[in-house]
Amino acid sequence: MSPLLSLRNLRVSFPTRSGTFDAVRGVSFDLGRERLGVVGESGSGKSMTGRAILGLVRPPGRVSADRMELDGESILNLPERRMRQLRGARISMVMQDPKFSLNPVMTIGRQITEGYRLHSGQSAAAARQKALDMLEAVQIRDPERVFNAYPHEISGGMGQRVMIAMMLAPDPEILIADEPTSALDVSVRNEVLNIMDKLVRDRGMGLIFISHDLNLVGQFCDRVLIMYAGRVVEELPARELHNARHPYTRGLLDSLPRLDRPVGRLAVLQRQDSWRDAEITTPLPEGL
């Protein structure tokens, strides 16, 4: 099966006063109808990778790649007008904090229907029905009330569900979720993840789940990419995460305090310069 999204040698660079800063340095992966986790610490380039796919890297940042294809069609550096048609309709993004992603002066219903009508050209009534269906799909008990509510009238967890509903309304092929649950409490987090998981599975979407939380990604995703300094240092099936071989991945896993394994001192990650440029330790799928 051909991948939904295919990336080869993605690079994102920003000019700075002291030369060029490479935020992403040659990232390659294929995304199928699966849940792909992208893990790394701040500055690893994981978010920038997501933004580059959506064409959201602002100048003076520059994006280049040998290949960036959605269903076999290049989406690299498309003009903004074409990109806008893609965004939302075929690729959607859920951001970290719903507080900053929802327009505070528009009702939730209007925000969902607006995006949907823009991409689908449906009537207002159809869009309203779709929005209510979506709100129900993200397990909001009282969709009518939430439809007419303003963002400040709902909780953070509900806001994140609304974001997901909004992003999934036009039935995109790919959902990019950038730390979608970091601002949420654990109980809410698990609910939101379940909803996202179900929707992605039912609709056969590809999900790119960007997170700093190794354990969560290990439990939630099918496949994991570990990024360090703008590169993928290791790629492995999520259930194999605890058998990771790269010293960086191992270091990250060991530095986490765990309830089931008390330690006197936490292991501290000793960063090696060689990780920056060393070759990836796990072979990528064929065609690389």
Partner: protein
């Protein structure tokens, strides 16, 4: 070292009064490390702010080192005994003050002598070294900023340190470094910690005892071993532990 009895904390006036903490009671022995856990809005950070006088609208009794405190005003002796480390190291350092300025002003306010020597010693004790003395916050990483914030809290040589989610804004590898630093400092200086966190694993690692909070109330107090063993009594604490331990696909 610290006793909190029947603490109520509220914001605003009736009819818009919001009760952030209701009838919270706990006590922390000298040299102990005590954790306050709960989800956002459970009132755990609010308790720290009431203790330090950053919030004045509270009732109940707070006793620090045998001395009761009142309202919003705190004595000089209180500031020498109790210090606090804030959650977000990006917000807790003045953007225009260099590390040197932060520490020298703090030492000056606390009436310390030999300020120059003390700054060097403080920087060494938080693992920064004197090379960092003249940097501004924007020249520091998140972990380095939190080390500066810890140095600032230690400047008065306090005995009780209130830690408000000190590592939740940091990467996991940096979190490990900061937690290790806090453990070392506690051992070396015999400090008492009250640590607020939403991360149960962090609290289990750092604390001897903890209180689980929900909607402003202390639901349950337990030793860290009970947290690890999952032998909490209340349903809520059990659910919280289960939810934190792992994500189970539905």
């Amino acid at each position: 070292m610290l006793t909190v009895r029947d603490l109520d904390v509220w914001f605003g006036h009736p009819p818009d009064r919001v009760d952030a903490v209701s009838a919270a009671s706990f006590s922390v022995a000298s040299g102990e490390s005590f954790g306050l856990v709960g989800e956002s809005g459970s009132g755990k950070s609010t308790i720290l702010r009431a203790i330090t006088g950053l919030i004045g609208t509270w009732s109940g009794t707070i006793t620090v080192d045998g001395q009761p405190v009142t309202g919003q005003h705190r004595s000089k002796a209180f500031h020498k005994t109790v210090q606090m480390v804030f959650q977000d190291p990006y917000a807790s350092l003045h953007p225009r003050h260099s590390v040197d300025r932060v520490l020298s002003e703090t030492l000056h306010l606390q009436g310390m002598d030999q300020i120059d020597r003390r700054i060097t010693a403080l920087l060494d004790s938080v693992g920064l070294g004197r090379g960092f003395r003249f940097r501004y916050p924007h020249q520091l990483s998140g972990g380095q900023r939190q080390r500066v914030a810890i140095a600032r809290a230690l400047a008065a040589e306090p005995r009780l340190l209130l830690l408000d989610e000190p590592t939740s804004a940091l990467d996991v590898s940096v979190q490990a470094e900061i937690l290790n630093l806090l453990s070392d400092l506690r051992r070396e200086r015999g400090l008492t910690y009250v640590m607020v966190s939403h991360d149960l694993a962090v609290v289990a690692h750092m604390c001897d005892r903890l209180a689980v909070m929900r909607a402003g109330r202390v639901i349950e107090e337990m030793p860290a071993s009970a947290l690890r063993a999952g032998t909490a009594v209340s349903d809520y604490a059990r659910a919280l532990i289960a939810a934190s331990a792992s994500y189970q696909p539905a």
